[in-house]
Symmetry: C2
DNA sequence: GTTTGTGCAAATTTTTTGCATTACA
DNA sequence: TGTAATGCAAAAAATTTGCACAAAC
């Protein structure tokens, strides 16, 4: 599936979501969705604001916060809190299920997959009578690039 | 191990940590550690500030932030970000390893254990050449108390 | 005695809110 | 045309920083 196909799909999904929830289909909402699906990796609200401002797209931070909330509800975006005091997001449609590994030296975020997490998720839900929709698993450690190259890729000071 | 024994142990561990790192052993730092280990469950900086103020303990928010940072490094406290815009913490010494389950209806936080997560942690570290120190796994869903009692325990509005 | 750590207050950063205006349905 | 959504700016909330004073080492 091409990037354009993905963008078309999420636009349709978001439109359906807005319809069902009785929200209006404003151009800002679709522009924000489009912007998010034009980038890979994680982003925060401020970056998104700057991206759109640079494209001369007139949008307010308030609308970004509002729209991100809707996109979270629509499961088109997920939220993370890798660093304190600032939320990070990433697109989630057609993006393979994965979890994160954070290096406490260079603060770089890596991704990995393990199918057993889905099993644990299902079993825990059954056991505790909980309808589990999603999960977030993060491992914290050191990426062992220090000894290899003398320093982590993004090591500070 | 009694609560008092635990408090004594963490005080020794924190003292050793401060020594090794070349930090001073101030009474404020031990008072904060003691306060944290006097409570169960999760807390945020503001609650901790109020707890200590109520006990007439003179402490500033700046010192709380500073000390929490040291306690995180010493692995005596862990940080979570259950809700946006605010960090939550919990004591971690001698407190059984567990993960969290959050109800999106009542926002209550539940705990669970699954030994397989340790296996995934070890295998992921070996596979990606990463020295993993810790993890955080959170499941998001609905706690099914709605249908049982008409509403989640802390359901809003 | 030196220098780190502290409290306080101000500053910064992140997010939310109020309100007049715009535009979707 | 009625009402939800927007932009803007102000407010609120969370965290960090600067500085004079206190107290570990």
């Amino acid at each position: 599936m091409s990037d354009q196909d993905t963008k078309d799909s999420v636009r349709v999904l978001f439109a359906e979501f807005l319809q069902q929830q009785g929200h209006r289909k404003t151009p800002e909402r679709f522009a924000i969705l489009d912007e998010i699906y034009s980038h890979n990796g994680h982003f925060d609200i401020e970056s998104l604001y700057v991206y759109m401002k640079n494209k001369k797209y007139r949008v307010s931070r308030a609308t970004l916060y509002n729209t991100i909330e809707l996109l979270l509800q629509a499961n088109l975006v997920t939220r993370h809190q890798f660093v304190k005091g600032q939320a990070h997001f990433e697109k989630s449609y057609k993006y393979k299920q994965h979890d994160h590994l954070i290096c406490s030296d260079c603060e770089k975020v890596f991704e990995f997959c393990d199918p057993r997490i889905q099993q644990i998720q299902k079993m825990t839900g059954d056991l505790l009578n909980f309808s589990i929709k999603s999960h977030a698993l993060t491992f914290y450690g050191k990426c062992n690039r220090l000894s290899e190259k003398g320093a982590c890729e993004h090591l500070k000071s």
